[in-house]
Symmetry: C2
Subunit: 197 residues, 2 copies
């Protein structure tokens, strides 16, 4: 077997695909381009990914998982009180999205196209994030800080109500000057609804 650097792995294909998507955009990125970037024939790519759609979905999943990872640390950090963790978690999610959208709008638009066509990757990602929120809510219920008859349901509500600050369909609003004010107002309202009265 040739050395690792020259072995064609799924991982190397995903990296090359990301690069091709970054360069060409989602409309013009072809499997042939990916193969060319790797110096192989496009038939070899199809040995690792059944279809172009599967390849794109794998890239999307990787990208989404990076965000999940960044947040899971906050969700499970038992050393801080649940309200602080909740605020921090949502603020970090918002900041991460806004940074991605602001730093490289074209790449962000590329991933918006990918997530739109992705079958279950986005749903899985949302389920993951909602699960993290549920953990925070559960911590709060246990410590007596939060009231919630059904933390999973409350977590869904928290995720959905804050959509304006993490859902890509609102990316255009994230540069507005009063977005921070709006974010604070929403968070205050939600936390108030969550606290034990």
């Amino acid at each position: 077997m040739a050395p690792t650097a020259e072995t064609l792995t799924a991982e190397r294909i995903l990296e090359a695909t990301e690069e091709v998507l970054r360069r060409h955009g989602p409309a013009k990125a072809t499997v042939v381009d990916v193969a060319r970037a790797l110096g192989v024939s496009h038939g070899s790519v199809y040995r690792h990914f059944r279809t172009k759609a599967a390849l794109r979905e794998a890239v999307t999943k990787r990208w989404l998982d990076r965000t999940s990872q960044e947040l899971s640390g906050i969700a499970t950090d038992a050393s801080r009180d649940p309200e602080t963790r909740l605020r921090d978690w949502l603020a970090t999610l918002f900041a991460a999205k806004r940074r991605k959208a602001g730093d490289d709008p074209e790449l962000f638009a590329t991933y918006m196209v990918l997530t739109d066509e992705s079958g279950s990757a986005v749903a899985d990602h949302v389920a993951d994030l909602t699960g993290q929120l549920a953990r925070i809510v559960e911590s709060g219920v246990e410590s007596g800080a939060f009231a919630s008859p059904d933390p999973a349901r409350t977590a869904r509500a928290l995720f959905q109500t804050t959509g304006r600050f993490h859902d890509p369909c609102y990316a255009g609003d994230w540069t507005r000057p009063d977005i921070e004010t709006d974010f604070t107002a929403v968070l205050d309202l939600l936390v108030r609804g969550l606290r034990t009265s």
Copy 2:
């Protein structure tokens, strides 16, 4: 002056434009089509609307205003308590949007295209709706049912947090079976955050 039915007015042009948009869709609806439907030359249409974009925006504004009207009655009905009014107002908004999206998806898609290209019509509409919400919140503060240091700000937060149930970008989710559950969960959380503890 010829009888009203034959006089070319802005109103008649708007009606004809709606019909042309309904028949042809936003991509294929032309000013020439509108003029043909009215039995006049397209030059006459340009006497009433400076550009095609202005004509489309006027149609959009009319369409949005119809929804505002439907809701304003609830917002100003002082005979019912604020919490009931708030829940009713949001439920009515959700129901209206879901009905429009479900009954005639193509027409709804048409208006999504129009609102996307409309300059200020959507912003004005959102400001109108947020103003109605602010009235309800104010009523609640006056009656002692709600706590809010800044009703206008709270109204914005209420509108934004419920986006999933009225923003067209989520129209695809409105047919999901558990959407009603989600709506109730969100409303419960928000109302709890609003009530005087």
